[in-house]
C-alpha cells in the first residue's frame, strides 16, 4: 500500500487492510501489529539482526521511523513520547551492542513506570548460545529492569506476544516490555492473524479499589487536624488531575507533589506547597514532619522524599493509594492501604469526601510558605541559574512541556518552573539518568508538534546525548534546548563542598565544546547569554525562532541548590542556604 493510497483511506479501511490474513514475514507481522496497536512513531537504529525488519519498513509506507544517532537517544525519545502522551512509546534496536545501548533507557523507564515496548533483534535461533557475532542475552540482561520480556522463538507466537506486550506495558503499574526477535523469526512467513484480545493468567492488576478501605480513609480525613497529601507520578500517569483537584478542594488538605508528581496539580493553587524531600520546600517538609495524617497518592516514598526513614512523618497515620500492592508497606508502615487505579480510588473517595479540621493547619502552612519561600541571592553582575529558570517560567506562563536532565538544573526546574498542565514535567526521577533530558524532548516534540517544548540540561548531561542535535536539525524538531552551563558537574560539586569539605574531585568540565558552535555544526541555531540582559534578549529570540535552537546560558559556577537535607538527616533538618 503506497502513501498515496493510504491518504485516501479511512482508519477502518486501513485497519481491515492490515488485518488481512496474508502470508507475510515476521518483520511485516511486527510492523502491522505495531500499527494496529496505534504506534505513530518508532525511534530506532538499524543493524544486522534487524535488517529484515528495516527491509520490510522500506516498502511499508505507513510507519514513521526516526533514525537517531545512538540507541540511547532512541529509547529516551520513546520515553519522552510516552510520558508526555500516556501512550506506549516504541523503540527498535539491533542485537548485541544495539540492545545493550538501550539498557540504561529501559532502566530509566522501569524506575519511573513508563510504558514502552522495546524491540530488539537477535541472532538466528540456531546461533543463540554460541557467542555469535553481535549476540547478547538481552532478555537475561533486562529481566530486572523490565515489567516483562520475551524471546520469540516461533513466528507463530509473534502477534500474541506483541498484543500482550502492549497490554502489559500500558495497564496496572505501567512499565517497559522488551521483545527480542531472532533474525530467522523476522524472516519466517506465515498467514497473519492478530488476536482481538489476550488473556494473561498471571497478570491481573487490581484497579478497582476496596470500598471499605476508601471509607476508612474518608473517616480518617474527617478526624484529622494536620493532614497532608503527598502526590506522585501515579496521579499524572492515571490522568487523575481533575479527581485530585476535586479531592483536595473537598477535603481541604494541603498538598505536596513529588518530582514526578509535579504538573499533576497546578502550582498556582493556594493549598500547593511545592516539592518535598532532599531539595523540597520548607513548608512541604515541615508539613510532612508534623502532619497527623499523610495520604500518599501514586507515590512510592522514595528515599529522596522521605530522607531518614526512621524520622519520617513520625506523628502521622499513613494512607497509601497505589496501583501496585508491592509498594504498600515497602518503605513506610501503612495504616490504611488503598490498592487500585488512582483515578478510580479518588473518584470513589470524592463521592463522600468531607473536609478535615484543617483550618488552623492551613494557616500555619501559609505562614511557613510566606516566611520561608524558595529563594536565591540574585545578582546584577552574574547570571544565576535560578534566574534563568524563573525567566523561562515567567515568559512561558508555565505552559510549556519541560524536559530536564539530572542534577542541579533539574532541581531548580522542579523548584522554580510553575507548571500548569499535567504531563508537562518530563524528568528521570528514579534512576536519575544523565543524558535523558535532551533526547526525551525530541520524543515529546514529535508527539506534540504544536506545543512549546523546552529541554533544560546541564553542561555535563548535554554532552551525554548531544549527537541527537542532528535529529532536531534534519526533521526541524523545534525544541528549545537550554544549557545551564556552569563549567562543572554542579550537583557533585555541591556535595563535595558541603559533605566532603571542599575536596573537589574530578568535577571540572572546563574545556567542554563551545555549545553554540556545537549546535551550529549540526545545523541547529545557537545562542549565548552571559548576563541577565543577554539572557532576556536571547531567550526572547529563541522563543520567536521557528525551529530548534540551543541557548548556552553561562551561569555562576558556585551556586548551590537549597533547601538541602543531607543523607542521614530527617526531612525537617534542612540547610536553608542563601538569603535574599
Amino acid at each position: 500500500m503506497s502513501i498515496q493510497e493510504r491518504a485516501v483511506m479511512s482508519k477502518e479501511e486501513i485497519r481491515s487492510k492490515l488485518l488481512q490474513p496474508d502470508v507475510i514475514s515476521g518483520s511485516e507481522i511486527l510492523l502491522r501489529s505495531l500499527l494496529l496497536e496505534g504506534t505513530e512513531c518508532i525511534f530506532g537504529y538499524p543493524g544486522g539482526a534487524v535488517l529484515n525488519i528495516y527491509d520490510a519498513m522500506y516498502s511499508f509506507a505507513n510507519i514513521r521511523h526516526i533514525l537517531t544517532r545512538h540507541e540511547q537517544g532512541a529509547i529516551h525519545a520513546a520515553d519522552g513520547y510516552a510520558r508526555s502522551t500516556g501512550k506506549v512509546g516504541v523503540c527498535l534496536a539491533t542485537s548485541g551492542p544495539g540492545a545493550t545501548n538501550v539498557v540504561t533507557g529501559i532502566a530509566t523507564a522501569y524506575m519511573d513506570s513508563v510504558p514502552l515496548v522495546v524491540i530488539t533483534g537477535n541472532v538466528a535461533t540456531s546461533f543463540i548460545g554460541t557467542d555469535a557475532f553481535q549476540e547478547a542475552d538481552i532478555t537475561g540482561i533486562t529481566m530486572p529492569i523490565t515489567k516483562h520480556n520475551y524471546l520469540v522463538r516461533n513466528v507463530e507466537d509473534l502477534p500474541r506476544v506483541i498484543k500482550e506486550a502492549f497490554m502489559i506495558a500500558s495497564t496496572g503499574r505501567k512499565g517497559p516490555v522488551l521483545i527480542d526477535i531472532p533474525k530467522d523469526v523476522s524472516a519466517h512467513k506465515i498467514a497473519f492473524h492478530y488476536p482481538d484480545s489476550v488473556h494473561v493468567r498471571g497478570y491481573q492488576p487490581t484497579v478497582k479499589p476496596n470500598n471499605l478501605q476508601v471509607q476508612k480513609m474518608i473517616q480518617a480525613i474527617k478526624e484529622a487536624e494536620r493532614p497532608v497529601i503527598l502526590s506522585g507520578g501515579g496521579v499524572v500517569y492515571a490522568d487523575a488531575q481533575n479527581e485530585l483537584m476535586e479531592f483536595v478542594e473537598k477535603t481541604q488538605i494541603p498538598i505536596t507533589t513529588t518530582l514526578l508528581g509535579l504538573s499533576g496539580f497546578p502550582s498556582s493553587h493556594p493549598l500547593w506547597m511545592g516539592m518535598p524531600g532532599m531539595h523540597g520546600t520548607y513548608s512541604a517538609n515541615m508539613a510532612l514532619q508534623n502532619c497527623d495524617l499523610l495520604i500518599g497518592i501514586g507515590a512510592r516514598f522514595d528515599d529522596r522524599v522521605t530522607m531518614k526513614l526512621s524520622g519520617f512523618a513520625p506523628k502521622a497515620k499513613i494512607v497509601h493509594i497505589d496501583v501496585d500492592p508491592a509498594e504498600i508497606g515497602k518503605n513506610v508502615k501503612t495504616a490504611i492501604p488503598c490498592v487500585g487505579d488512582v483515578k478510580m480510588v479518588l473518584k470513589q473517595a470524592n463521592e463522600t469526601a468531607q473536609p478535615a479540621k484543617s483550618k488552623a493547619w492551613i494557616e500555619e502552612i501559609a505562614r511557613n510558605k510566606q516566611e520561608f519561600p524558595l529563594r536565591f541571592k540574585d545578582s546584577d553582575d552574574e547570571l544565576k541559574p535560578q534566574y534563568v529558570i524563573d525567566m523561562i517560567s515567567e515568559t512561558t506562563k508555565g505552559d510549556a512541556i519541560v524536559t530536564t536532565d539530572v542534577g542541579q538544573h533539574q532541581m531548580w526546574v522542579a523548584q522554580f518552573y510553575k507548571f500548569t498542565k499535567p504531563r508537562s514535567m518530563i524528568t528521570s526521577g528514579g534512576l536519575g539518568t544523565m543524558g535523558f533530558g535532551f533526547p526525551s524532548a525530541i520524543g515529546v516534540q514529535v508527539a506534540h508538534p504544536d506545543r512549546l517544548v523546552i529541554s533544560v540540561n546541564g553542561d555535563g548531561g548535554m554532552q551525554m546525548c548531544s549527537q541527537e542535535l542532528a535529529i532536531c536539525a534534519i526533521h526541524n524538531i523545534p525544541v528549545k534546548i537550554v544549557v545551564i552551563n556552569n563549567q562543572v558537574l554542579g550537583m557533585v560539586r555541591q556535595w563535595q563542598e558541603i559533605i566532603y569539605d571542599n575536596r573537589y574531585s574530578f568535577i571540572d568540565l572546563a574545556g567542554s565544546p563551545d555549545f553554540v558552535k556545537l549546535a551550529e555544526a549540526y545545523g541547529v541555531k545557537g545562542l549565548r547569554a552571559t548576563n541577565k540582559e543577554e539572557a532576556q534578549k536571547v531567550w526572547k529570540e529563541a522563543l520567536e525562532f521557528n525551529g530548534p535552537v540551543l541557548i548556552d546560558f553561562q551561569v555562576r559556577k558556585d551556586e548551590n541548590v537549597f533547601p538541602m537535607v543531607t543523607a542521614g538527616s530527617a526531612i525537617h533538618e534542612m540547610i536553608l542556604g542563601d538569603d535574599e
Binding site: 532478555t139 529481566m143 530486572p144 515489567k147 498471571g202 497478570y203 500492592p325 508491592a326 504498600i328 508497606g329
Partner: protein, 165 residues
Amino acid sequence: MTNPKQTISVLVNNQPGVLQRVAGLFGRRGYNIESITVGESEEHGLSRMVIETTGDHNTLEQIQKQLYKLIDVIKVIDLGSQAMVGRELALIKVNAEPTTRPEIIGIVETFRAAIVDISPTTLIVQVVGDSDKIDAMVELFRPYGIRELTRTGVTAMVRGMSVGK
C-alpha cells in the same frame, strides 16, 4: 534474633527462563534462598516451585507481593502459615567397612531409610523426611566418614483438602 524459616509454594508458567526470573528476584532484592525445588505440577504447562527462605513477617509479605509482579507467576502460597507436609530427599555416600556396616544398617532401619547402592567400602543411603530428620541422620553418619552428600531441598504442600492454587 535469627529470622524464622519460611516455606512458600509458587505456581509458575513452565516457560524458559522462569527459574531465572524467580531466583533473580530473590537475589536482587536481598532475599535469601535456603533451598528451591522445581518440577511439573498437576496442570499441563505449569510448574511448582517450593522455596525455603528466611525472614520476618514483613519480608515474607514483600516476597509474596514482588513474586506476584512477575508475569509468569500464577499463585504464591505461604505454606508455613498452614499445616503442611514438607519433605526432602538426601543421598548419603558413607564409608562402610565390614566392621561398621551392621551399625550403619541399624541406623538406616531406625530412620526408615534405604540402602540403594553397595560397594566394598561404601554404601549409598537414601533418606526421605523433613529437614530435621535428614540433619540428624547426617550427624549420625559423620563419625563413619561421609564421602558425598546431596540433598534435594524441601518440597511441600498443605495438608487436608485445600490445594495450592
